[in-house]
Symmetry: C2
Subunit: 369 residues, 2 copies
């Protein structure tokens, strides 16, 4: 193998596939990045069998070929290379890869490329197209609500649904639920899959195009793939039945409160300073006619008392929540004002942006004495 | 106690004393910040018995008094308070301290202030004045060379000397030594003390005046204090005999090499990527007439080869160093070009800025096969 490419493109590709490089040493070949040079392209791949990422860049190929190089060293080295272009060549005899840029020359040991599990492009009749900015928004507004506890795997992923009503992502840990909807044109196949949250987070990280591009989502029994630009990501799916989330969303509310998001978030975060050593991080909210009183009482630390202006319609109510469930949505809501809707101190409440009916967040209150 | 002060001043004082708050729970009172209000001033103090820091700010005192509050919560809370002013009052009956700012009100539990070991201003005839920017430079250019290994305590501190020749700071871990000199006017007492490196680092962090101010250094048998602006820092000294560092500095060199600092640092750091998994982080340097060749060979990773332009006078030489000892000085030297001076592959070498004869750094080479 012998090729020349720009440092910028190579660095972009290495950083893109890097998150799929295995950090465990159980299968050494998975700690490597696979390089394949052919027909004016260099294809970089990494996989830990949970997720596989491929990124293709333009390259001047003098000699086609494949090689696997240590992900850790290659990534650090490419980032620090001095020149604008990089020459890469492999030497079959001593199993090394030579990387040259300006006056820098590195010979890194390579791994046996025939052992690398090269990603197979999924052949599936099930696929749909969605704009990357829409997909990124669906992920970012829901994925934080997934469970981190692995005891019920179904809740560690985000449910992606597409049908005649549009495209939706839903995430829940059973104590809170986030749902984001968007429109979808040209739907051929309806979709219902659960993708692990860490793969969704990784996907959102690499969806950074300046001009919206189409992402092709393809799926089959236990796998999903996302293809856009020169990037291809393939992931296992979480199997099982996602509960009917529509049952969790209250049909109506006795109280609706409009509050400035930033003021509310700042006040809740200050109160949480006192609450956070407690077992449940519990903060109390008293919704009055034109103010919300936020309090916490931790016998080991002290008491906090904050008030924030609000506009309340309906019954006044006193209720308690796990503070993290409240701050998470306030950080992600992306709207100047929120609507906090409630029924009783023991029934689920809703927080949503004032200006977006396609985004819903439900939280279960905490019973206090 | 009851007072009003600005949030900005209070936050500055809390962040200044914060590093002296003990993170260990063995003596709970030392996890607190001591507040003392009197005569238009609020004095904040913290100590872990290694270091004590006091910072005084202007305050509107309605009622004098003292209180001790949890360092951890107070620091986080003050940073997040919403208003421009803060009102603090203590309630002796329920042992709480009330902190109010805009619509925020916090009642934090307090600790018994009579148990706090209030800092005593050192009364000593031994003292001298030095400008804060000079003291900061002495520290920053040497303290990184201290030993981190506690087995020989003397090398975990920086030696500060002042006499008719000026003021100097010296630090060494026996494998490398940094020496920085400056001028000193109006010297009354000669000084020779060893201060723990972490206290020097902390001192450098709080020396941030925009206009140079005088720092009064006072010392007695086993303590040193630094007083400037409204800040007072007191620390234990390390006792023992610092070796004669002048013997370590070679009188002359057979080879002197001028190199661009940034180019050299970048190349050495890239080579260190390959070296750093090795036991000693060893990198080889070949000083030729107009180039330095920097190489490393790690059987588990690969080989690195870099060249940097240089201007060499004297004998060509091949030598090896612990790469961290080379990159540390290149990061701190603060000069466009360095002078690397050498004798033989097994004798100490020197790296210094091209334009400052008052800064010297000596490194011992590593024997290689």
């Amino acid at each position: 193998m012998k090729l020349v490419c720009t440092k910028e493109a190579l660095n972009h590709a290495v950083q893109t596939v890097q998150k799929a490089v295995s950090s465990k040493n159980t299968l050494p070949i998975l700690t490597g990045i696979y390089l394949s040079a052919y027909d004016g392209k260099l294809d970089l791949q990494a996989t830990d069998y949970e997720i596989g990422i491929s990124c293709k860049i333009d390259a001047n190929i003098e000699e086609a070929g494949t090689v696997v190089v240590s992900g850790r060293y290659f990534q650090e080295l490419v980032r620090k290379l001095p020149g604008e272009t990089v020459e890469i060549s492999s030497n079959r005899e001593d199993r090394t890869i030579k990387i040259t840029s300006n006056f820098s020359q590195f010979n890194l040991l390579s791994l046996p490329s025939e052992e690398f599990p090269v990603l197979k492009q999924m052949v599936s009749e099930n696929s749909l197209l969605v704009k990357d900015n829409i997909l990124k928004d669906l992920i970012k507004k829901t994925v934080f609500a997934c469970a981190t506890d692995e005891s019920r795997p179904i809740f560690t992923g985000g449910l992606l649904e597409a049908d005649a009503q549009g495209i939706r992502m839903i995430a829940t840990n059973t104590h809170r639920l986030a749902l984001k909807r968007d429109n979808l044109e040209n739907l051929n196949n309806s979709l219902k899959i659960i993708t692990p949250s860490k793969i969704l987070t990784e996907l959102a990280r690499v969806l950074v195009s300046e001009i919206p591009v189409d992402v092709r989502i393809s799926w089959q029994k236990n796998q999903v793939s996302f293809a856009f630009d020169d990037i291809y990501i393939i992931s296992r799916l979480i199997e099982g039945q996602f509960p009917d989330y529509n049952r969790v969303i209250p049909a109506s509310f006795a109280t609706t409160v409009q509050i400035n998001t930033d003021q509310f978030l700042d006040a809740v975060e200050r109160v949480s300073l006192v609450a956070k050593d407690g077992e449940y991080n519990v903060v109390k909210f008293q919704f009055k006619a034109d103010t919300v009183i936020i309090t916490s009482n931790n016998p080991d630390v002290g008491m906090a008392y904050e008030t924030v202006d609000s506009h309340c319609q309906g019954n006044e109510i006193e209720i308690a929540f796990n503070v993290k469930y409240v701050t998470d949505i306030l950080k992600n809501v992306g709207s100047e004002k929120i609507i906090f809707s409630l029924n009783t101190p023991l029934s689920p409440a809703s927080i949503k942006p004032e200006d977006d009916d396609n985004y819903t967040y439900i939280i279960t209150p905490v019973r206090t004495n």
